[in-house]
């Protein structure tokens, strides 16, 4: 079992308005919170469910690959509020979940992460020591707590 990735859970979206998402660019607390989370974590995964309890096979596989590389990462569950996914996809111009960001850049979803994992590129992209390419692992339970999103909407 890998060592626990460490990160501080940060509250997001606690100031989100109860009103429907405005189309205007002006004030968008959810998008701002997502952008802040992306910029303040070297490796951050937006997923369905949590690393301990992924709610989708694609998210589970992506978590398993990161854990196999012992990569510390923050995780955000997009399921609690549909606006998280809506704003994330608007921000990243990427329609599917999971989405992995490294150093503020979208690396890709499960397919791209899998290709990079199998080729060894993922290790490089994450700034980790190179390791031998391996088969994609089965999803395994995580040890670290996920980044939490507070919902007081």
């Amino acid at each position: 079992m890998s060592s626990s990735p460490q990160f501080d859970p940060i509250p997001m979206l606690s100031d989100a308005p109860a009103a429907p998402v405005a189309p205007a660019e002006e004030s968008n607390p959810i998008r701002d919170a997502i952008a802040e989370a992306i910029s303040s974590h070297k490796v951050i995964l937006f997923m369905k469910g949590t690393p301990e309890a992924p709610a989708c096979g694609f998210s589970a596989r992506t978590v398993a690959m990161l854990q196999d590389l012992d990569a510390p990462f923050a995780a955000v569950d997009i399921l609690p509020d549909p606006r998280i996914r809506q704003e994330l996809s608007a921000l990243s111009n990427w329609p599917t979940i999971p989405q992995l960001f490294v150093d503020g850049e979208l690396i890709g979803g499960c397919d791209i992460v899998t290709e990079m994992y199998e080729s060894g590129e993922l290790t490089q992209a994450l700034g980790l020591e190179p390791a031998a390419p391996a088969e994609a692992p089965e999803a395994a339970p995580a040890e670290a707590p996920p980044l939490t999103i507070e919902n007081r909407l």
């Binding site: 694609f58 990427w94 599917t96 979940i97 890709g108 397919d111 791209i112 290709e115």
Partner: protein, 81 residues
Amino acid sequence: MPSAEDIKARIEAAIPGAHAEVEDYTGGGDHFRATVTAEAFDGLSRIAQHRLVYDVFGTEIGGAIHALALKTQAPSKIQTP
């Protein structure tokens, strides 16, 4: 409910010179796996290649199409696994 053939036809119609192989891997008409080869991908990052394909379907991804697993490549980059 789109079929794998529908998905293939739409990708090939939207991306000039594209060749797509599409599989409906649950048989339910909403989870697809596609391998797409296109000249248009040449010189593009994987992210940009996948975006070209996702853009064919717009908001259907995550809607009627629950999953579209992608593998993309430019013809010059074809390699056997």
